[in-house]
Each structure stands twice: as C-alpha cells, then as structure tokens.
C-alpha cells in the first residue's frame, strides 16, 4: 500500500537516488507509518522498548543491511542504508538506535574483526533478529575519553577474565551478546560476551527522560570468564571500537535528517490548519521563518548525507567528514524539533504529536556516539592541525 508520509524533498533530491534506493526507503517508510508510529507514544510513556518490532525489522532485512548475502544480509549500498536510518528515526530515535547498535556496533565489528567461526555463528542469527547485540565501550568515568576506561581483561590459561563496569549501553539488558572493550597488558581488546555467563550481569538503567523507548543498561563484570575464542582476533587497539562508532555515526547523521523531516512535516501541516486571529497561523511571518529555516536545514542535511554516502561507497570517506555530518545533522534536528514544538503551541507538549518526543530523544543523540562538541573539536583539529580535546591540564592555582 502507498505510504502516508510523503517525504520532504524541496530540491528533488529523489532524482539522485537509484530505483532500489527509493524502493528501500518506501518499504521502510511504509513500515514505520504502519507499525511504529501508531504505538511509539505508548512505549515512550511507559518506558518500554517495542520488542515485537525486532522480528519485523529482521524480516524486512534491516539488520546489517550493508553486509554481504553469504551471512544472510542484504548487501545494500551506503545510501540505501542511510535511508533506512532516516526513516527509522522519523519514527523514533529508539528504533533507529536499536538498529544502529545491532548493525553498526555489533554486526559490523564481528564482520570486520571477527574470526570466520564468529561470523558464521552470529551474523545470520543477528540478521534474522534471533540474537540481539549491544556494544559496551562507555564507562561511568570514561565517556568522551574511552582511552581512560578501567575495565580489564586478564589472561588466565586459555581464558580471559573480565572485571569492571560499562554504563549507558543501549540494548544491554536484552542483548544475547555484548561486544565488550577492555584494556589488557597488550592494549585494548574486544570480546563477544554471551548473556548469562557467570560473573556478567546487565541491569537496566531507569529514570531516563530521553530515548525512553530504548533499553539502556549497565554491564557489570565480576571475574567473568570468557574463552580466547570469543576475543575479536582482528581488533587491536582503540581504532577498532572507533571504527564501529564511525559506522554508527554515519547512520545517525541520516537519522537526524529523518527526525527533522518528521518535525517539519508535522509543524507545516499544523501551521496550515491551526486557526488563530481568524486565519491559519502559517500566514504569520514569524511562523514562516521557523518553517523555512527547518526546510533549509533539512535540505542542506539531505545533500550532506547523500554526498557522505557516495564517498563512503567510493572508499574516500574520512572519519572527520562523518564527524561534521553527525554534529551538523543532529544539531539541526534538535533545533527543528524545538521549533516544531513551539509552532504546535500547547498541543506540542502532548504525546499525540511527535515533536516533543523527538526533541527529548535528540538530546541523547546529541550526546552519544561522540558529543556534539567532541565532533566539533575533531573537525577543528582537522582543519587547524591543533587537537583541542587533548588540552593539557593546568595545575590548579598554579
């Protein structure tokens, strides 16, 4: 059936897309309209993840969609993958986050750094949604600076023994397998830790006011013992987890565009219909200013991510370029959500509309996968040659 959302395409950017890319987008768009939007406010309010959607997303082939068919994946190009993220986040950042973690932060490292046995064991199952994954890098005291992590892996015969704690881990509690990063005597290592092994627990974090339809957890390791065969053999040093984040950020940039499109669409329709002072509020210059700014930002964002996708497939993409897009697209979405919320007046605070839900969600998106400011400093370092986020600490009072 034809989908309800008609898209936002002021510059006919659809002409830049292939038929397959459009078909992928229409599929996910229709699914989001039909399956996500009718139920998401309830899950958001109740703070629950709509778990029944996992099987449906798998059926569509959304997980690990760029990975090859031999592992049960769809083998899509990066723009099609981006469009999936755009549409999922148009629904809700929680749904996009789930898919991002599963695809970019778990399937990608297994594919890139895993042994053939690890790939065969996990990838087809994860593509089918029969196994859920999570990615444990951040710790209570190691956020923007993951190199300061304290979770340790110590070799003991054929095994490794893990001790420490991760925090803010999306999907943690519902994951069957956790990609866990830890320091060892030989540098940083990545492990595939299975749910339920002794010494490993993943309690859910409560009290979030953002991304409420997503599961966020702690991962706790108390002498958790894993065989060496569960270590990702190709992952050496922090470059490995950072490369995963780079994949995820690419999708997040597209997701930001999607969230902004949802907010703009809602605000525009509202502005045309809402009557105040004897006519639609869309006739006021101040309201038009907000709508046009949103549209201009979205159009720029769409071009940015499309070009990013081209470079990704051409293999010329630099991680600093991904930083710029993550920073820019999420910031503009955050702004769009606020303006949409404003245009909707009091109705804007109701869960019947998406604006405030997006606005709250985007606060997490603004912070995770590298905060807005960290990405700014990454780009700043790239263009000036001065790496500001490692500024030396001045002794207090000195």
């Amino acid at each position: 059936m034809a989908s309800k959302f008609k898209g936002v395409d002021y510059y006919r950017l659809d002409d830049l897309l292939t038929d397959e890319q459009k078909m992928v987008r229409e599929t996910v768009r229709g699914w989001v309209d039909e399956r996500v939007l009718p139920i998401i406010a309830k899950h958001y309010q109740e703070g629950t993840f709509p778990r029944h959607l996992v099987a449906e997303m798998a059926e569509l082939g959304l997980f690990g969609a760029t990975l090859p068919e031999e592992y049960g994946c769809a083998g899509l190009d990066s723009i099609a993958y981006g469009l999936i993220n755009q549409e999922l986040e148009r629904g809700d950042s929680a749904v996009r986050s789930f898919a991002s973690v599963q695809s970019a932060l778990v399937m990608y490292p297994i594919f890139t750094y895993g042994s053939e046995a690890q790939k065969r064991r996990w990838l087809p199952k994860m593509a089918k949604g029969e196994a859920v994954g999570c990615f444990g890098l951040t710790e209570p005291d190691a956020g923007s600076d993951p190199g300061s992590m304290t979770t340790r892996a110590v070799r003991d015969g054929k095994d490794w023994v893990l001790n420490g704690a991760k925090m803010w881990i999306t999907n943690g509690t519902i994951a069957d397998v956790a990609v866990v990063w830890a320091r060892s005597d030989g540098g940083f290592l990545g492990f595939l830790v299975e749910k339920g092994i002794p010494g490993f627990s993943a309690p859910e974090m409560k009290g979030k006011l953002s991304l409420r339809a997503s599961v966020t957890s702690e991962l706790v390791f108390e002498d958790a013992r894993v065989p060496d065969s569960s270590r990702l053999p190709g992952a050496k040093g922090l470059a490995a987890p950072l490369s995963c984040l780079n994949q995820a950020r690419y999708g997040i940039a597209w997701g930001g565009v999607g969230a902004a499109m949802a907010c703009y669409d809602e605000a525009l329709r509202y502005a045309k219909e809402r009557v105040m002072f004897d006519g639609p509020i869309g006739r006021f210059q101040l309201v038009q200013d907000k709508l046009v700014r949103m549209l201009a930002d979205i159009t720029q964002g769409q071009l940015l991510v499309w070009r990013l996708g081209q470079m990704k497939d051409a293999g010329t993409l630099r991680h600093q370029q991904v930083s710029l897009a993550k920073m820019q697209c999420v910031a503009m979405a955050r702004e769009a959500a606020r303006n949409a919320r404003d245009i909707l007046g009091a109705n804007g605070i109701l869960d019947e509309y998406g604006a405030m839900r997006h606005m709250h969600n985007l606060e997490s998106v603004y912070t995770y996968e590298g905060t807005h400011d960290i990405h700014k400093l990454v780009v700043g370092g790239d263009i000036t040659g001065f790496e500001a986020f490692r500024a030396p600490v001045k002794p207090a009072g000195g």
């Binding site: 059936m1 034809a2 397959e20 078909m23 599929t27 569509l60 082939g61 068919e69 999936i84």
Partner: protein
C-alpha cells in the same frame, strides 16, 4: 503451479488530479506512480499460493510504458520470479478490451494454471479487465474475491462478499481470479528481495511478439471513447444556522428534507 499476476502501474491514490488544458487528458507530471493497490493483493495471493504448493513460478505481467517497469520491479522485490512488460506504441490509448487483448495474447504465450488480477485499477475504476481477459482466454472468472482455497481436484474455491452474506464459488482451473481488499495482507518487499529483483528477468513483448494486429488494440480499436475530463464543481461554502438550539434543529431538519432531500 504456474501463476500469472496482472498488475497496473497507476498514480497513487493521494494524487491531486490535474486536467490538461483542453480537457482531453490528465496531467501526471508531479504524480507518484505505484502498483495498483488491488493488484498488491493479487501479487500476494500468487506468492502465498506458490509458497503453499512449494513449487511453481509467479510471473507478473503488465501493459504499459517503460515507466511501468518500476511496478514490475516492486512485484519482483516482493518475491515474484519473472516479469513481462507488454509495451508498444500500438497499445497506447487502449480501452479495457484493448488491454485485455494484449494480456490474453501474452498469457497464451506463458504457461499458467491461474491468473490473479486486482478487482479494479484505481484511476479508471472500470472493473472490466479481469473478466474480459477470462472471456478471451475461455476460462472461468471469479471476481471481487476475499478468500481463496485450492483443492486437490485442481479447482479453486473463492469467497465473495455479497449483500448480507458470503458466496462461495468453485471454479475449475485454469481460471482468472480478481482480488478484493481483505483477501490478504500484502507483504513489504524485503531488502534482500529488492536486491534480488535487480537480477531477475524482465521480458518485453511488442505487438509483433504477441502476434497482435496493431489495429486490434490501442486507440484505433477502442470501443470506448474518452470525450472530456471535468473536475467536479467546487464545494459551496458551509452554512451556519442561527437562533436558539431548537429553532436550529427544526431548520436543519427542514433543510435536510426539502433542500438536500436526504431524509
């Protein structure tokens, strides 16, 4: 089992219709074209039948221009095995008979046990092609079907919603079945399906390939001549009744009876 599914490439139902100056044609410049929604039920019926039998082939068939390829790809992405595009300048301007003649000529060149169509194509809403196709092929037609069941004896049992109840019709195969909303839930094409669709075979049949005399199809042969398009008159502004509530109610009832003549 060989299954044929006839689909039509139509403007999506939310298209705002514009008439070209002169009123002879519709302007589809900004329209988005999709698989006719009723044909999605037909594609789904074909796929489900193949899955149930465990063997066979689903071939989708359309009459249209090169742009109709988009709808064929959509059906292939849903899971159809092959597609056939019947495309020729001679087919342009065909009425329902013309389209049915082309489809019948194509169907005769393909093995089939059953043909699924949508109950009608949105846009023209003629509801004729399925029945005409069956007549041309000399096989039974069961139209506007909401339930399907294939028995071992090689027949199809179809449910049809009729005034106040359900009618069950049994037809020997091969047959043409036209599908109504409620028959099934059309699947979304999976991403793997979309990628696989790129590699599937799409054959193009011209009038000559189908052995069709160009004079028997297209505008020349159309029994149905479209004279002019006209938009419905703009809706007049609503009326607000004044006065006390019971006065308003009395006035409303009077207007409904005497002016609108609905009660």
């Amino acid at each position: 089992m060989n299954i044929l599914v006839c689909i039509k490439h139509v403007p999506d139902t939310e298209t705002r219709v514009k008439i070209t100056p002169g009123g002879k044609a519709l302007d589809f410049t900004d329209a988005n074209f999709v698989v006719n929604p009723y044909d999605e039920f037909a594609v789904e019926a074909g796929l489900q039948l193949k899955e149930k039998k465990g063997t066979g082939e689903v071939t989708v068939l359309t009459v249209g221009g090169e742009d109709a390829m988009k709808s064929l790809r959509q059906a292939l992405a849903m899971g159809a095995d092959k597609a056939v595009l019947c495309s020729d300048g001679a087919f342009e301007g065909s009425d329902a008979w013309g389209v049915a003649r082309v489809l019948a000529a194509a169907a005769r060149r393909l093995p089939f046990d059953v043909v699924f169509c949508g109950k009608h194509g949105v846009g023209d809403d003629n509801q004729q092609v399925g029945s005409l196709l069956a007549a041309l092929l000399g096989v039974p037609a069961v139209t506007v079907v909401t339930g399907l069941d294939f028995d071992e004896a090689g027949a199809v049992r179809c449910k049809r919603e009729v005034e106040g109840g359900t009618e069950v019709v049994r037809a020997a195969l091969p047959a043409v079945v036209t599908c109504q909303k409620g028959l099934n839930e059309p699947r979304y094409p999976s991403l793997k399906g979309i990628m696989a669709a790129k590699k599937k075979e799409v054959a193009t049949f011209r009038a000559a390939d189908l052995g069709l005399d160009p004079a028997s199809v297209g505008r020349a042969a159309a029994a149905f001549v479209l004279r002019e398009y006209e938009l419905p008159p703009p809706r007049p502004a609503g009326r607000v009744l004044a006065g006390e509530v019971d006065q308003q109610v009395r006035e409303l009832v009077r207007l409904l009876r005497e002016e609108a003549k609905v009660i």
